[in-house]
Symmetry: C2
Subunit: 320 residues, 2 copies
């Protein structure tokens, strides 16, 4: 029994002859090793858990892609779970992975530290991905939401706009809050008074962007520029503006966030803030793997992925 194990695992403590003998018999019997049992004995699953808020859209697809790409090279798998991770659900999701993964990547824009503090006590390896108020007890990677939004709004202000609206992201969402914060800071730094009348609600959907745009059009002193907290809403707004016969960028300048592939293809092409999501996944996975493979390292790392302004036609900075 032990020798079989050694043969299967290509151990050097076994004769080439016996190895081939074992291999032959294994083939004849159709034997295949049982990964679960191996994990139990080995205490390594070679699997990382990926907990996502939901599997919507390009963003998550790209994150998973980055993670999987990194992880597969070293023979790991991804066990993904995408429940709504508010409160007890998150805890349940983590617990259900507990003997089946070596560590976890947790992405939850509505994350509150305490929940996982209870479940994740002990030294269970975790890396937080784009979670709010990163608990210093955990490693974490985030996007430069604040900086990206700031750059976008500063750019709009530099183009001469003084009345710049924002279409906010979903309430309670970390990214949304950070982007709003960046917007406000840029407004202040540009010497523009804050005006809650031009801070429109939204929830990251196209429809909410369209709605906000329509509300804007009904205003007496309509904003001359709009910063939508993500591209979907910007595209929704774009459609609503076109429908109302309002020209972008001539009458209203428009900027989004995320730089989804579609941003380049709408008309006019959408000025946005680019984040390399796949790289975010890669970096996060690499960090987790380091914790798993490398020596225990008490240092916690907090990393931020840069967000860069991509100027296209919709903001009016380009001539054609």
């Amino acid at each position: 029994m032990a020798t079989v194990s050694r043969a299967v695992n290509e151990s050097s403590l076994v004769t080439a002859a016996t190895r081939q003998h074992v291999a032959a018999i294994a083939r004849r019997l159709g034997y295949m090793p049982h990964g679960g049992a191996r994990s139990l004995a080995t205490r390594r699953t070679h699997t990382i858990g990926v907990l996502l808020p939901d599997l919507y859209g390009e963003f998550f697809s790209e994150v998973i892609r980055g993670i999987d790409l990194t992880v597969r090279d070293v023979g790991y798998h991804c066990l993904v779970s995408s429940a709504r991770h508010n409160g007890a659900q998150l805890e349940a999701a983590i617990r259900s992975m507990l003997g089946r993964v070596d560590g976890v990547i947790l992405m939850s824009p509505e994350f509150t530290g305490e929940i996982s503090r209870r479940t994740l006590h002990g030294g269970f390896p975790v890396v937080l991905l784009n979670c709010p108020s990163p608990d210093p007890a955990f490693d974490s990677l985030t996007i430069a939401n604040y900086e990206g939004a700031y750059d976008m709004v500063r750019h709009l202000a530099q183009l001469g706009h003084r009345r710049i609206a924002i279409i906010q992201g979903a309430a309670g969402n970390f990214d949304a809050a950070e982007r709003l914060r960046g917007y406000r800071a840029a407004m202040r730094d540009a010497g523009l008074a804050p005006d809650s009348d031009v801070e429109f609600a939204g929830d990251f959907t196209e429809e909410s962007g369209a709605e906000a745009a329509r509300a804007m059009l009904a205003m007496p002193d309509r904003p001359t520029a709009i910063f939508a907290a993500n591209d979907c809403m910007a595209i929704g707004a774009l459609a609503a503006l076109r429908e109302a016969g309002v020209s972008v960028p001539d009458q209203v300048a428009l900027g989004g966030f995320d730089d989804i592939p579609m941003a380049r293809y709408v008309t006019p092409a959408l000025t946005s803030v680019h984040v390399d999501i796949s790289a975010l996944g890669e970096r996060t996975a690499a960090r987790l793997l380091a914790k798993l493979e490398g020596p225990a390292d008490a240092r916690r790392i907090r990393d931020t992925l840069p967000a860069t302004l991509v100027v296209r036609r919709s903001c009016g900075a380009l001539q054609n």
Copy 2:
């Protein structure tokens, strides 16, 4: 030990009092059940393996989403793997999942039955997703590639086009081959002679679509309509045509396949063939779950998801 197990699993054979007692001690000790060990004893992992060709783009994101949505409701997880699954790699990927999943969804447009025949012998539950020449030994779901392509080309022919080009998908790809077959059949049925000069090579990328379009423009008797085997190539072609000053749809009609979200937003909006990818994932997952949960059923199911023509401006059928 047994009582603890019963308490944890909410068995009815245990007093409420003892259950709470156990729960209290568990909490104090920070005990959490080990999923792997449980699976080993139970012989059920409540996990399905998902083997994908690669994690590119919207398509796979949507498939996974559909699968996960279906599967999570019944308490299952997804173990995903996205290696290049040609030949031995596929076998290795399956084997590495072998004691860690209850069944597998296998998607591989370059799948050849024999590979898995060897690995998947015995009654290991498998459902094929969009694999070529579905082995009758396996359940399988596919997309109506042939029918969708046929409808598209017939539509173009009915608009009066007689010289209809195709930009083919990647060589060796199942979808690509089926779509080409549909194209040829529709041409034949419309009384149009096959002409290999207008069957352009492509590989599903935007760039390959642009290239094909440029080649077309150089022809003496340029086609008046183009069917691109997917939307990415159609969009690439669209860009190339615009660059050359050729109007779509006035000078050249254009149709794609897949109906990716972007199709609605390019200018002109792209006529395409819509497939509900998420539903494809859902149906496949449901089928696998049925095999896992339900009684053994020797019947093999082969299902095809419909593909429906979506007419937009790029084909010239609409006035504005």
